[in-house]
Symmetry: C2
Subunit: 351 residues, 2 copies
Amino acid sequence: MSWEENVRKVVPYVPGEQPKSSEVIKLNTNENPYPPSPLVAKALKDYDAGLLRKYPDTQATELTDELAKTYGLEKENIFVGIGSDDVLSLAFLTYFNSGKPVIFPDITYSFYDVWAELYRIPYETKELDADFTIRKEDYLCENGGVVIANPNAPTGVELPLEVIEEIVAFNKDRVVIVDEAYVDFGARSAVSLIPEHDNLLVVQTFSKSRALAGIRIGMAFGQKKIIDFLKDVKFSFNSYTLNPLTIAVGAAALRDDAYFKEITAKTVKTRERMKKELKELGFSFADSKTNFVFARHESHSAEEIYAFLRERNIFVRHFKKPERINDHLRISVGTEEETDKLIIALKELIK
Amino acid sequence: MSWEENVRKVVPYVPGEQPKSSEVIKLNTNENPYPPSPLVAKALKDYDAGLLRKYPDTQATELTDELAKTYGLEKENIFVGIGSDDVLSLAFLTYFNSGKPVIFPDITYSFYDVWAELYRIPYETKELDADFTIRKEDYLCENGGVVIANPNAPTGVELPLEVIEEIVAFNKDRVVIVDEAYVDFGARSAVSLIPEHDNLLVVQTFSKSRALAGIRIGMAFGQKKIIDFLKDVKFSFNSYTLNPLTIAVGAAALRDDAYFKEITAKTVKTRERMKKELKELGFSFADSKTNFVFARHESHSAEEIYAFLRERNIFVRHFKKPERINDHLRISVGTEEETDKLIIALKELIK
């Protein structure tokens, strides 16, 4: 017998390509095309590096104070982690111990089933409609917990807040997680439902609308009770995660609400223009409320378009699985100039 | 039934106090009393904040390149995580799946049993000798894996490298983790054993000797095969953890080897002086090869000394459990001046 026989065997996740050349147009990982607020650079310049000799503030107080102000909550309603991946993974570990299957859509963020398997949580997926809509009825059933990305990824489709509330209310005896990574680009947030629903956990991130994919901050919002359970689990096995630079950068970004609104409005405007041009080129897609469009073309395969764009240094995302979406491309919304170049390249292929 | 019934219930860890006042002498969390290398401040000043809009380099290449140079290894021999807590926790998850009990000392780093319980790994603890020495024989047995902190914490005692090698060689069919958080303060590292032993994983940290407890970097060293298993598990469920600021700060610190040697030598010198003075005051302790001394007094209880020092704004660590060590205090090695003040305060109590 060798030690290798007792190693956990997994299928590693392959993240979107991160080409090093700066000449590339990167529309493959839903990063914000704009830099973070200038207050972020200032926070870094002003930071006293000598403080790094000490362990960080486990409560990330400077950051949670700003989050509380920004979202109209109290500090006790907020949990922060290393990106929303960390927050969601901890939430799975904390809340889903009934032994009953946790439910989420068949086409959604690709880590939900990974975390369920990691923590040996049974799960079932519910098929999206042909137009990629979540069918409410599927979530009004006996289950061990519900996870819904809203807007959903990689489809970009928003479920109306009234439907979210109905699902949360029906499932009052288990936790419902609403993963709002893309909510700031035009969807309605479930944060407003928190006062009425103690089983609701809303998860957001700095990676998209705050233009800080690099800093790795995710956060969960909920009533004090549900947040406390999450904190207890986190502190039971890893006390120190967010470093003080992360905390300072996150807080600085939140203090610049005007900049946040400005770059978000720009992305929304570019997205709407991109939709119009893609439609004219023969693409079809469900309406997106995110910073990407999930589209297929009537006569060119996703594979072909992906390869054609890549040769021209334009990177988009092609998910080969599940089969039901392998004719689609997920195209992030870039700057106006990047979008121009994308459309010009597509015209070259298509016309 | 309520959702609360299916929440994971845990005993949260209580980290060492982090008093906010700067007038406090903090000898309770084994932080380095000196600031990190000046190159760290420079790296932060020079950092282009605009890069934070993008996801980080999942391989943390800049950091692993510097680690490879520093430790005479190849990049493929190195894994990095959010502090050694993250690295160790992932190592438990990755390597200990035989169903047989993992073994470690009864008095050691307090998270080993926590991670074992988190991942439902059976474990057994082995009693230290009366003088807090690890008994080699206890680790030459059938088991599911071995974890040894060397030097051990909170005892400070080093196990000779020859004994470590014997344990690693005996257990060739399971993974042996050597946790070297404090190794730089005078103990011999097991990194030199890596070429001969494919079942050995050596874990270190930036938190103590590199004066960067705040930055949260831990690393594991081993042969390519054992490191690859760890990477596969990590990337299967959380691709992006170390942010680019962390990577830049860690790499900068490694580039200043002269500074590292200078502050480490200072701490070792102060520790030896502190030992001498503590002995004269009636304290006894096993010989420490770390940046702390784990001591008891012949006539004053740990509780009494702890309270007396705290009133004078000097914080040391008192573990109330297990009972076998509740007459001990763990006192971090501070600057010369801080040590002066500690000794003066103790003289006030004791003489």
